[in-house]
Each structure stands twice: as structure tokens, then as C-alpha cells.
Assembly symmetry: C2
Homo-oligomer: 120 residues x 2
DNA sequence: GTAATCCCTGAAGTGTACTCCATGTCAACA
DNA sequence: TGTTGACATGGAGTACACTTCAGGGATTAC
């Protein structure tokens, strides 16, 4: 699969795909002899993971560290677990912030709509 | 209340407080004759709102627009409602991204922990 | 064989949200 | 009255995550 096809498949620019690879959140993609990327199934799985995690807001450097640990082999399993748990905690915290903000937003919207109704 | 006190109360730097005011996500704070900020109850409510919304990830420009509409008076109620609803939608989207990422994270953590257990 | 098309890289540029810094004012205390 | 310390402003600097650009190679279409 070419970089353009991958880009279309996942709705992400080719520049970003190259950037993710350079940043290390996608391991070096399979290439042909002239250096052109030819994404294999495994490459695509990394792409998918990177996109999911980035959308949720996980930072590039944490993801890069995770990828590095993966490439380093089995003995990094404990560190990987710890890293993932840390990130999970961050996501939980972030979700809570969102829930709190949502509560305020809902309260305000409701209040405004009532004022609007009573002014009619 | 001085800017330093507000900073300590909300755990946010004085620079950020000034920045928020300049950026328009907090209306001009009450000042004494020599121009020094003296936060009143109403100012504090704006500070609180700004901090909550920023923590959830609402962008500065959307918040600034909201503040501007507020200062413009009652007739902007419909626009305010629309703005808040748009932001609520964004938060919902973001929460969903987080939930999806969390599912993946949990799956991976579980898998790693099982491998680790079986390797013992 | 040459023009068009797609891909490559390294480096510079952009947007967002702060954060830091230089310089200056003002009130209060020694 | 001089010095200290909190606060003010405008502007430069920083971090992060892309995004754009300049300059080149390789393949395909004619």
C-alpha cells in the first residue's frame, strides 16, 4: 500500500504519516529498493494505533517511547505495562475534566434557553 | 483579591491570568486607580469558568467569542446558546475518542499482563 | 527521451497556548 | 528620601504538533 493510499484510508495527510514515522510513533515502514514506502499489514496496525492514540491526546513522546520499547523485545514488557497504565490514568483524568466542563455547559445552556423562553 | 492570591487559589500562574485577560477569555478585571488588579466576586467567576473550560480543552478563541457575546448584552443569547452547543458537541466527540483509546489501552495492558504471568 | 507524476528528505514555517523577560510605576517602610 | 517588593505592560521566547517548501530521484505515458 502506498503512502497516499494509507493517507486516504485513514483520513490523515501523507505529511503527517511521514512525520509520525520520523517522530518514532510508527516504526520504520517497509520500503522497496528505491526507498519508497510500501505499507504492510503490520505497518498499518502501527498507523492505526498511532492515529487512535493521538486522537485521544496521548503525547508524541510517550508513544515514541512505547514503540521503542516494543522494538526492544520481550524483556521490556513491564515497562510497557507501566507506560500504558500511566497514559490510561492521564486519559481518565482528561475524561473527568471533560465531564465537569460538560456539566457547566449544560447548566448554562439550560439557563439561557429558559431565559429565552420566558422573554417570548 | 490580588492577582497573586487568585493565582494561588486556582493553581494557575499570574502570567496565565494576565494572558487570559489579554486574550479576552476573562473580561477586564476590576482595578484600583493605579491600574492594579483587584479581583471581585464576578471576576473570580469568570476566572473559574475560563480555567474549567480550558482544562477540558475548549479553544481560547471560542471562549473569547463567548465572553464578547456576554458583554454585548441580552440580545446575544441565541448566539451564546449556539456557541455553547457547538462546544458541547466537540467535548462529546473528544470524550468518545478517549473512550475508544481507553478500550485499546485496556486490551493491551491485559494482554501484556497475561504474557507476563505465563512467562513466570 | 522527455514530460508528468509520485515519492523522497531535511529544513524552515505555522498555529496555539502559554511563559519569560526587560523595563517601569507605585505604595510602604527604614 | 531612598530602597524594597508587588504589580503593570509589551514583546520576545518556548513547547508541541504538525505543515509547507525546496530540491531531487524513480516510473509511467506518450
Amino acid at each position: 500500500m502506498t503512502i497516499t493510499e494509507v493517507s486516504e484510508k485513514y483520513g490523515i495527510s501523507v505529511d503527517t504519516l511521514r512525520y509520525y514515522e520520523k517522530a518514532g510513533i510508527i516504526p520504520r515502514v517497509t520500503r522497496n529498493k528505491s526507498g519508497i514506502r510500501n505499507y504492510q499489514e503490520e505497518d498499518l496496525q502501527w498507523v492505526q494505533l498511532a492515529i487512535w492514540m493521538r486522537r485521544a491526546g496521548l503525547p508524541i513522546d510517550a508513544l515514541a517511547k512505547y514503540v521503542k520499547l516494543n522494538l526492544a523485545g520481550e524483556e521490556t514488557l513491564p515497562q510497557r505495562i507501566e507506560l500504558l497504565k500511566t497514559q490510561r490514568l492521564e486519559l481518565e483524568r482528561q475524561r473527568q475534566e471533560i465531564d465537569e466542563a460538560m456539566t457547566i455547559l449544560n447548566r448554562k445552556i439550560k439557563k439561557y434557553e429558559e431565559v429565552l423562553k420566558n422573554n417570548t
